[in-house]
């Protein structure tokens, strides 16, 4: 009897997940460099710990904030306090990284680059998880989660606009190609979203047709499955030859932008990858509508269209949206590969960066991609919850 009570009371003193994250934060601060300094953008880097990278009393402030955040995360503090600590930690990290970059950069050197080091990335990772964990514990409503995302985006935009980070290497890379960046950002988002929309426009009606014919459905799902197993690089590549041929031989095709390289193969490949999850989740969504409910719709005197629009689609919607979420996040990631086949997008920077061994340029492409995928996931999770009316209200 006494033993479980003892164990419970011991467990009550520390928070297991919080303690793990706090340990990562502490290790990041004490044993990993906050910043990396390079004489030029492709030279090897040299690490600088927080107390080396920050001027004046800032190392002490940084240490105190870290200690407080660590203590709060370890303790059984309630979700609000944990959230406040994690957010304060993130903002402090943002300030420290900006300040470290300005401090370390030798005055007048046009070539030197300062980037966040392993300590900064580790702390970012742990504090983001702690923020997410606190938000989950707060049990925010779907609109609350979107509001949290908007606030986070606002803070990020504030940092970028304030110039606090302008000495960071990634932003140096951005500054020298800001026009190209904005253009490729839009191409990237456009490729991801429009290939998804095309897949929805084709896939949802296709699924509704397939649903009625079992043999056709099995054949179609098998074919789509095979398509899905082709590695994405290969699929992009496979499309080059046929599209080049079409572009050269079908009148008018070239005028539409269909060619071996460029946006067309990227778009078609993304579309092909999107189709299976959309068709599959639509079929699953409709199958989740019970026979009894369908029959009730008939018995009430609904026409086939009324049954579809008022009963079947609303009930299938959460499952369909789950498929759309998967596809959107997947497309945002896959669109990077469009950069390889001349399709544009943020992949352009990633592959340029790889070929020049310029890590900062790779990050200029990768970081916004991750942020977009992350935001899309949060927005769609909220939409899915909102559409699941029968369980949430």
């Amino acid at each position: 009897m006494a033993e479980p009570a003892f164990a419970a009371s011991r467990r009550a003193l520390i928070d297991p997940l919080g303690a793990t994250l706090a340990a990562i934060v502490a290790i990041a601060f004490l044993f990993q460099p906050l910043m990396l300094l390079r004489p030029n953008r492709i030279a090897p880097a040299q690490g600088a710990f927080a107390w080396e990278a920050l001027p004046g009393l800032q190392p002490m402030a940084c240490g105190i904030i870290t200690a407080l955040v660590v203590l709060i995360l370890i303790s059984r503090a309630d979700a609000r306090l944990r959230l406040a600590a994690a957010v304060a930690g993130l903002v402090g990290l943002g300030l420290a990284v900006g300040s470290g970059a300005s401090h370390l950069l030798p005055p007048g050197s046009a070539y030197a680059r300062v980037a966040p080091g392993a300590g900064a990335w580790l702390a970012l990772f742990a504090l983001s998880l702690a923020t997410g964990d606190a938000l989950v514990r707060l049990r925010l409503s779907p609109s609350g989660r979107i509001a949290a995302l908007v606030v986070a985006a606002g803070v990020l935009a504030g940092f970028l606009a304030s110039g606090l980070w302008s000495d960071l290497s990634v932003l140096r890379e951005y500054a020298s190609r800001s026009d190209a960046f904005l253009r490729e950002l839009w191409v990237h988002a456009g490729l991801s979203v429009f290939s998804l929309l095309a897949a929805v426009v084709v896939g949802v009606p296709l699924a509704m047709l397939l649903r009625r014919v079992a043999t056709l459905r099995r054949a179609a799902l098998a074919a789509l499955n095979v398509l899905q197993t082709i590695p994405s690089m290969a699929l992009f590549g496979l499309l080059i030859a046929p599209l080049a041929w079409i572009g050269a031989h079908v009148p008018g095709a070239a005028a539409l932008g269909i060619a071996g390289i460029g946006v067309a193969p990227a778009f078609i490949a993304l579309f092909a990858y999107s189709l299976l999850p959309i068709v599959g989740s639509t079929i699953a969504g409709f199958e989740a509508v019970s026979e009894r409910t369908r029959e009730a719709a008939d018995a009430m005197g609904m026409t086939a269209w009324q049954k579809l629009l008022r009963v079947e689609l609303p009930l299938a919607l959460p499952v369909i949206l789950t498929g759309v979420r998967i596809v959107l996040v997947q497309n945002i990631g896959l669109s990077v590969i469009a950069g390889l086949v001349g399709g544009g997008g943020l992949g352009v920077f990633v592959f340029q960066g790889i070929s020049q061994t310029a890590t900062d340029l790779v990050l200029l492409g990768a970081l916004p991609t991750v942020a977009m995928a992350f935001a899309a996931g949060i927005v769609f999770d909220a939409l899915i919850d909102l559409s699941r009316r029968q369980e949430t209200r």
Binding site: R292, T293, E295, A296, A299, M300, G301, P314
Partner: protein, 311 residues
């Protein structure tokens, strides 16, 4: 009101319903009873054309039910099934409003009708209007299912084992509600059940189905007194026949003059309940009261004679 004219329905070459003819008069409750698989559901679903007959025809108010498009026909026929079949993504009010909104009623009329029906089924509109079906008990869901079927005041109501999933007490309450509603609206009802007690309690006429055939269709008294086949007899249950018979009439029709000891029973008590009361309270005769006044008595001997079968 509803005429089945030599209706059959085949699945493959097996008849689920075989050559059934019957007539349900306006305002009647016809109860179709039979064992599982005897074709009751198929018979019922042919009325609103969820199933089409293989041969024969069904007339509603003298018109073949195939003259209207199926969806238009169904909007004029209420349909309530076991396990309710409510739309899980719609509130109670939206569920009840299904047919009225298909018929294009204006919002005010719909919401007044929803509140009226909720009150009729003893559910506080303010409390239940905006609930989702999963927030209701089984009995409440069942009532909303019947309310939805009645929403557009259909002249005909079809019910397929509507009380099958309810516990005995709630079930009895639901049966009383149904009788009250039928009186209030004069709805013609066809109800399917496998429970002979329920059939005897609710039906103005009872049809007994056996392997797709209608083996007897008559008033409850005749079913009990003169079962047409051994199958009907077995449905009635060999041990309960006298009690079935007694349960069909009230003591009012057998009051005689005279004195009796003890507390009076009401004149609308069934003979079955009166016999039970007489046995339990060890009284050979019971006083009968109507409107609070004792108007005579019933004797156990007379009750026993009413429960006797043919010689």
């Amino acid at each position: 009101m509803i005429d089945f004219d030599s209706v059959s329905r085949l699945y493959g070459d097996r008849p689920a319903v075989a050559d059934v003819s019957l007539r349900v008069g306006t305002g009647e409750i016809a109860v179709i009873v039979g064992t599982s698989g005897s074709g009751k559901t198929t018979l019922l679903r042919m009325v609103n054309r969820l199933v089409e007959p293989s041969s024969g025809r069904i007339l509603i108010g003298g018109r073949d039910n195939r003259t209207l498009p199926a969806h238009a026909l169904r909007r004029g026929i209420g349909y309530a099934i076991q396990g309710h079949g409510l739309f899980p993504h719609r509130t109670v009010a939206e569920n009840i409003a299904t047919v009225p909104s298909l018929l294009g009623w204006d919002a005010k009329r719909i919401s007044a009708r929803v509140d009226e029906l909720l009150s009729l089924f003893h559910l506080d509109p303010a409390l239940f209007r905006d609930r989702m079906p999963h927030q209701l008990s089984g009995g409440q869901q069942q009532r909303i299912g019947v309310a939805r079927a009645l929403a557009a005041e259909p002249p005909v109501l079809l019910m397929d084992e509507p009380f099958g999933a309810l516990d005995p007490i709630i079930r009895e309450k639901a049966q009383e509600d149904l009788l009250a509603i039928q009186k209030a609206y004069g709805t013609t009802i066809i109800l399917v059940t496998h429970d002979m007690d329920e059939a005897l309690h609710l039906g103005t006429r009872i049809g007994v189905m056996d392997a797709g055939r209608l083996v007897q269709y008559d008033v409850p008294h005749a079913i009990v007194a003169a079962p047409a086949t051994d199958f009907v007899r077995s449905l009635l249950g060999a041990g309960d026949r006298a009690f079935h018979l007694l349960s069909l009439s009230t003591v009012e029709e057998m009051i005689e003059s005279g004195e009796a000891p003890g507390a009076a029973i009401p004149a609308d008590m069934s003979m079955r309940a009166a016999l039970s009361e007489s046995l339990w309270s060890r009284r050979e005769a019971l006083p009968v009261a109507k409107d609070g006044r004792v108007i005579g008595r019933v004797t156990r001997a007379a009750l026993e004679r009413r429960g006797a079968g043919p010689q």
